[in-house]
C-alpha cells in the first residue's frame, strides 16, 4: 500500500507483480470522472492521513491474501488535486487462476473505499465544492451555501 503525490503508473506497477506461477492479473483503476450525482465535476482533491491509510491498506491486502489463494497484490492511492481523467487509485492482483484475482481485486478496492482515512472534495463547474459522503459534516461551516439550497451538503455517492 502506497500513497502517491505524482501520477500513478499502472504499467510499471503491474510489472512488479509478475512471476512465473501467475496465470491471471486483474487490475482496477479509479479515474476522476466529470460528473457525480448530476453535478458537473471540474476536479477532485484527496486528503489522506498517510500513516493510517498505509497501515489499514496493508491490513486489507493481508486479509485478501488470507481469504484468496493469490500470489501478489498491491494498491496505490493518489493524494492532492486531481484533474478529470487522472487515475486516483490502482489495485493489482495476480494469481494462478482468474477467479481469485477477480475476487481479491474487488475485495481490496471495496475495503479501501470504506476503511482508509481518505477524503475526497469535489469542485463543481458551478463554483460549489463539497466533501463526498459527508452529508452533515461541518454543516455550519458554509452558511451562505446552506441558504442557497444545501447543494453542497447533500448526500453524495462514491465516484466509482
Amino acid at each position: 500500500m502506497r500513497i502517491s503525490n505524482s501520477a500513478i503508473e499502472p504499467d510499471r506497477l503491474r510489472q512488479l507483480l509478475t512471476g512465473d506461477a501467475a496465470g491471471a492479473c486483474v487490475a482496477f483503476e479509479g479515474w476522476i470522472r466529470n460528473e457525480n450525482e448530476g453535478q458537473e465535476v471540474l476536479r477532485l482533491e484527496y486528503e489522506i492521513y498517510e500513516p493510517l491509510a498505509v497501515k489499514e491498506g496493508e491490513k486489507i491486502i493481508g486479509e485478501a491474501r488470507a481469504k484468496y489463494p493469490i500470489l501478489q497484490a498491491d494498491c496505490v492511492h493518489r493524494e492532492g488535486l486531481l484533474e478529470i481523467g487522472e487515475c486516483a487509485v490502482w489495485v493489482g492482483v495476480t494469481s494462478a487462476h482468474r477467479d481469485e484475482a477477480f475476487a481479491a481485486c474487488r475485495f481490496i478496492i471495496d475495503e479501501v473505499k470504506v476503511r482508509l482515512p481518505i477524503w475526497k472534495k469535489e469542485y463543481y463547474v458551478n463554483g460549489d465544492s463539497g466533501w463526498v459522503n459527508c452529508e452533515r459534516c461541518a454543516m455550519h461551516a458554509q452558511p451562505e451555501r446552506k441558504v442557497a439550497g444545501d447543494s453542497n451538503v447533500r448526500k453524495q455517492c462514491v465516484v466509482s
Binding site: 482515512p117 477524503w119 459534516c137
Partner: protein, 81 residues
C-alpha cells in the same frame, strides 16, 4: 476529571475548526465523548457511526477509553477511490 489530549481534525472537520490540530482539556471518558464535546469545533451533525476515530495512530472504537496525553484523530466519513 479533565484529560489533556491533542485532537486532530481532518477534511471538513479541519475546515470547520480552522486548525488541523489543537490541545484541549476535556472531561471525556471515551473517544465518543471527545467527538460530542468538540461538536462546536468540528461542527459535524453526522452520527458517530458514519465517522471514525483513531487514538495514537491506531484505529479505535468510539467507546475506547481516553487517557491523559492521548492524541485523538477525528475522521469524517471516508471516501477513498
Amino acid at each position: 476529571m479533565n484529560k489533556n489530549i491533542t485532537v486532530r481534525y481532518f477534511a471538513g472537520f479541519r475546515e470547520h475548526a480552522g486548525v488541523g490540530e489543537e490541545a484541549v482539556s476535556l472531561s471525556a471518558a471515551t473517544a465518543g465523548d471527545v467527538y460530542e464535546l468538540l461538536k462546536h469545533r468540528h461542527g459535524s451533525q453526522e452520527p458517530l457511526g458514519h465517522c471514525k476515530v483513531a487514538i495514537n495512530d491506531e484505529m479505535a472504537d468510539w467507546n475506547t477509553p481516553i487517557n491523559d496525553g492521548d492524541t485523538v484523530l477525528l475522521f469524517p466519513p471516508v471516501a477513498g477511490g
